[in-house]
Symmetry: C2
Subunit: 164 residues, 2 copies
Amino acid sequence: MHNKLEMAQDKFIASIGELAGSFGLNQFIAQLYAVLYLSDKPLSLDELVERLRASKGNISLNIRELEKWGAVKNVWVKGSRKDYYEADPDIRKVAANKLKAGIHKRIGQVSDMIEEFKELIHSSEGDMTEEDKKIVKAYHEKLKKIEDMNSLASKALSLAEKLF
Amino acid sequence: MHNKLEMAQDKFIASIGELAGSFGLNQFIAQLYAVLYLSDKPLSLDELVERLRASKGNISLNIRELEKWGAVKNVWVKGSRKDYYEADPDIRKVAANKLKAGIHKRIGQVSDMIEEFKELIHSSEGDMTEEDKKIVKAYHEKLKKIEDMNSLASKALSLAEKLF
DNA sequence: TCTATCGTTTAAAACGTTCTAAACGATAAT
DNA sequence: ATTATCGTTTAGAACGTTTTAAACGATAGA
């Protein structure tokens, strides 16, 4: 196929991988989406195997993950019994959804952590020395700071949602 | 030491680790900061070894990383020739700095990637078929979308900075 | 029914990252 | 000067994650 163009694309795809990796998400899955996003037509499993030089199993697995995210869908192509995959062209929506879900989850986790910590502290209030009580008081002040930060993050998130 | 309190803290520290891990950053380094943040006094390397049940080397390494971030500093304690470490109490600042730097870097990376891709495409314009030119045109449209998203992210970032 | 063509599953290999234990150099105490 | 106490460095072990190859079940065509 278009050799120079393909090389250019390869470089781009590779960079996408690095970027995703540094975010802590699977490099390959990002590259997979990128290939589908740039493609002018839906691609089959075999074509993706060829394009990314990866195993069928790997691609199959990650395609399903992308489907869960709503980033890729299965499309039917007349005259073939293969599955064909197509990227959601609204890349902004895809990225925003993923990020939003992630951040929202983390904000919840932080709240939960703090609540649990408070409960644990409270449950052991019975046999506390004066010294312990001082420490607990200091804890509460620090936890408060984290809570404030968390709710600020939450507000920032809904602000960003409006912007997007 | 304070047994029940310590257990409560342990649970909290563990959760901090999970949280950090899901962000793609080193779990241990987050836990290290958390221990120092919650502590009412600076801690020595040995105390951290004891508290986190990790090797000196590991802690030493990650402390230096935290120092780079400006999240932890070395403090001098009268009468001891050990190093003592203290967390920056302004956890919001620490988190914001780290996140801001990260996002800023990523935004730059995306711009660079796109520029490079465009150049590669351009450099191979010479021997292009009509078909190729069609594909390249479609690429440019898609790249434009990514650029828009990127600059929007950039704006959102500076908005968030003001908020914090 | 038998064969070919799919996508998925899975057990094991490959890989990168993190962690440790031990050696080390530097500094302070004796 | 010698020993003890530090923090750092480093080579390799341990670990989790990702990837593969091969087996598999399902479906369609002959």
